[in-house]
Amino acid sequence: MTTAIPAQSATEVAVVPPTRVARGGFGRFLIRRVLQALAVILVVSVIVFALLHALPGGPARGVLGQQATAEQIAAFEAANGLDQPVVLQYLSFLGRSLTGDLGESYLLNQSVSDAIALRLPKTLLLTGLSLVVAVAIAVPAGVYQAVRRNRAVDYWLSTLAIVAYSTPTFFLGMLLILLLSQTAGLFPAAAPQGSGVAEVLAQPAGLVLPVLTGAVPIVATFSRYMRSATLDNLGEDYVRTARAKGTVYRRVVLRHVLRNSLTPVVAMLGYYLPVMFGGALVVEQLFNYPGMGLLFWSAAQSSDFPVLLGCVLVISVATVVGSLLADLVQALLDPRTRGSLR
């Protein structure tokens, strides 16, 4: 087979399909998967801890800020046992993180956990909306392409997806601002401000461009997942069986193939979370959306390490939990595992 249609893209390769529930039963799967997630979180905490120690001046300066005096640092180190062995330090860091104590931002006069708690919902809102929009486009597009595989539409949509994938989000956002906001004047170029999700939602026009910018790369990626998952399923024997009993092709696709193609893609979403958070960072910066990405970015601008590392920790944990949930949802959607629940 040789066609000019790329079967998969970089991003597809980038994500390895999630673990399948083996026949061991759902309970075991659940326990194993949760343990796995905990292990990952543990490793994440080790990485963050290591970063904290890699800071110029070490964790004391990271926590107290650049302005801290030598005496303050010495006091902090004594108080926090930084003179103790690294393992003990790590354990106490872990303990503090577990109780939600991520340190104090020296720029915001806020504890890092407060700062994050205020902004995370807004980032979740933005990513959530982008995701919904993206999935609403990507799923039909992918299915359509698979059904029309190797035709001109498929070819063009695939090419478009690669181009969209290859366009840096900020470049895309700039172009959108230039075209839709500055030239056509359709939507404001700045995202809604305000501290609560409700306030943000009250200005829907302002959300259009950020959501769109955030959605395009997801569409690019997921339409391709969807296309290949659908293609895989279209090649399955059960499709032939369904056709042989006289089921209309449309129904074969919508009733049989769609559902079976959707489940692995749903699980893939979990693994795509870090990419979406990364995208949110750029989108928030571009549109001045007061979420977690912006918090992170301004913290980077001012070397506000407690915030930086707090964000990394929170986002990574969110990602791990997200993919755990996605896996569980997928497992629950699949009757093969659901059966073992009974």
């Binding site: 650049q66 915001l108 500055q182």
Partner: protein, 570 residues
């Protein structure tokens, strides 16, 4: 005209300037101009001294002082207060002034505007003969202009009847501040409260104000809502009902907002000066906002290797010859920066400026620079970078403590985030390298730059920085009277490079104690010729864009904003 109907204004705060302080007692790291500008709309200072009316001077309408009388010997000053009340109906009294002195005196280690020997150390006695009169006695005779512009302006009468407590549930007790411990407890309490951003709009402490506005909204992202203070009884009443101060994390985001009309008073990158029409078409006027400031690169004279090199005047002269201030101002800053050749702000021109500084003693001249260095024993090494090949203290030698083989390779640590700044240093690097001076440019966030350049001695471990830049919006803003003792004085806190020159110290000392303008001019000349720092073009505070119809927006060279003066035309 739609502007006639409007009762609110959206003002864009500088990029990355999120308000994070409210109590008008600044502590380290919270001194940003936007913080103090907000405080000033809530609490009027004892003496207002700013440029809101075009030139820098006292603005009697915006302060609490009625009359300020210096005694004949200039040792005491008697201040009578305006007849004013706090928003809760209590009168503003001399006790509120004394309260400020009590708090600050007990907390000089925390109060960030403290400088040893200055306010409040130089005030030996605070007397309150009656409710409306304050008498301050100084430790010696000072230049009254300097006192008024740089010292009395620091005093902000505080509502002692509401704030003199150390915990939420305490009953306020002004007497508490009179003991050192009490004053420390109050200060500590106020600072703690001020650290809680989430309660700015609700904490009853901050509702007791005497300024033209009250704070009614404060989001975690730093968006501030000011509402006209209905109980205001001063001469500086606001005309706009609601002022929204909008924070932006980048100029680009802010410009997008400007272009979509979401901002009434904002700013644009200097590149916008190339084609102001595009903003005029959108209904804005474009106005660069010049600051009463100077911009420079301090030399770290105590750098272990390069310190001796920088201590050579001829080296500083050569380097200064290599900075093409005119071109940089014009091409890179598009005119939004003006050349500055010495320690006195050159724009607007003032009596303090000397002819020598104005004429630039070291104009751009690579050949002169090359000659200077060649004449002092520097020859290009294998990599093209100049090396000292003739050490010694003779006239044609490298100079004291400069060692054989020392390379003339400098490192500039520049604040990140500004294209103009990046380009300026790229340009300087390019010209200097052509002349054989090696240049490395590092960038870091402003905070990082400021925190890594404490004055130091050569044997200290963190003394390896050379030329830090923190002047994208000007390096140093003067409070009014442009004397440089805090920047160039031996041992001063902000004299980062540890410059030390007896003559210069004397000139600065004289300028704070004498009223003769020729003293300042002498200081200006000496600073221009002796190069305590490398002078650079002084950028405007920002290039403002102001919605047509918004009036009263005279831009304060002290970089503060005064929303109470704004109004919509019509």
């Amino acid at each position: 005209d739609e502007s006639a109907a409007r009762t609110d204004v959206n003002y864009a705060l500088p990029a990355n300037a999120t308000p994070n302080w409210i109590v008008p007692l600044g502590i380290a790291g919270k001194l940003a101009t936007h913080n103090s500008a907000i405080m000033r709309t809530l609490w009027e200072p004892l003496v207002a001294y700013d440029g809101s009316e075009g030139e820098v001077g006292r603005v009697a309408t915006a302060d609490l002082a009625d009359e300020i009388t210096f005694s004949d010997d200039s040792r005491t000053v008697t201040i009578t207060l305006d007849d004013r009340t706090w928003s809760d109906g209590e009168p503003v009294t001399s006790a509120d002034v004394a309260f400020w002195f009590d708090l600050v005196k007990a907390n000089t280690d925390l109060w960030a505007s403290y400088s040893e020997g200055r306010m409040p150390d130089n005030v030996t006695e605070v007397a309150t003969p009656d409710e409306k009169t304050v008498e301050l006695t100084f430790d010696k005779v000072y230049n009254p202009e300097w006192l008024q512009a740089s010292q009395l302006t620091l005093v902000v009468p505080l509502p002692s009847h509401a704030w003199a407590k150390a915990a939420d549930d305490d009953e306020p007790d002004p007497a508490l501040a009179e003991t050192k411990d009490g004053a420390r407890a109050i200060f500590d309490y106020l600072v703690t409260q001020s650290e809680d951003l989430g309660t700015y709009a609700t904490n009853p402490l901050w509702q007791t104000v005497n300024g033209p506005y009250t704070l009614t909204g404060f989001t975690d992202a730093g968006q501030v809502e000011l509402t006209r203070n209905e109980t205001y009884d001063g001469d500086d009443a606001a005309s706009i009902d609601t002022v929204n101060l909008l924070p932006y994390t980048s100029t680009d985001a802010e410009v997008n907002a400007v272009r979509s009309g979401a901002v009434d008073y904002g700013y644009i990158p200097t590149t916008g000066l190339d084609a102001p029409e595009q903003y005029e078409q959108l209904g804005y006027t474009v106005e660069p906002w010049a600051g009463w400031s100077i911009t420079y690169l301090p030399y770290n004279f105590n750098h272990p290797e390069l310190g001796p090199v920088y201590r050579q005047l001829y080296v500083r002269q050569a380097l200064q010859h290599l900075v093409d201030q005119e071109q940089i101002s014009e091409v890179i800053w598009k005119g939004a920066a003006l050349p500055g050749y010495g320690p006195v702000p050159q724009n607007p021109e003032s009596d303090f400026l000397s002819a020598e500084q104005k004429d630039n003693p070291y104009p751009f001249d690579p050949e002169a620079a090359t000659a200077l260095l060649a004449d002092h024993g520097w020859t290009p090494g294998a990599d093209g970078v100049l090396e000292c090949t003739d050490p010694g203290e003779g006239d044609d030698q490298c100079g004291k403590d400069v060692e054989q083989g020392q390379k003339l390779a400098i490192t500039i640590l520049s604040q990140s985030g500004s294209a103009e700044t990046d380009n300026m240093f790229a340009e300087i690097k390019s010209t200097m390298e052509q002349a054989g001076v090696g240049v490395t440019i590092e960038t870091a966030p402003l905070n990082t730059v400021l925190s890594s350049i404490a004055p130091c001695t050569a044997d200290q471990p963190d003394c390896d920085w050379e030329l830090p830049f923190f002047g994208t919006a000007g390096s140093w803003y003067f409070g009014g009277y442009p004397s440089g003792e805090r920047v160039f004085g031996t041992g001063a806190a902000s004299n980062f490079g540890s410059y030390s020159d007896e003559t210069f110290d004397q000139l600065m000392h004289d300028s704070t104690e004498s009223t003769d303008p020729s003293v300042m001019q002498e200081y200006s000349r000496y600073g221009a010729e002796n190069l305590p720092v490398m002078w650079l073009p002084n950028p405007v505070y920002q290039v403002s864009v102001i919605k047509e119809g918004l009036e009263g927006t005279t831009q304060d060279p002290l970089a503060s904003f005064h929303p109470q003066r704004w109004s919509w035309a019509g």
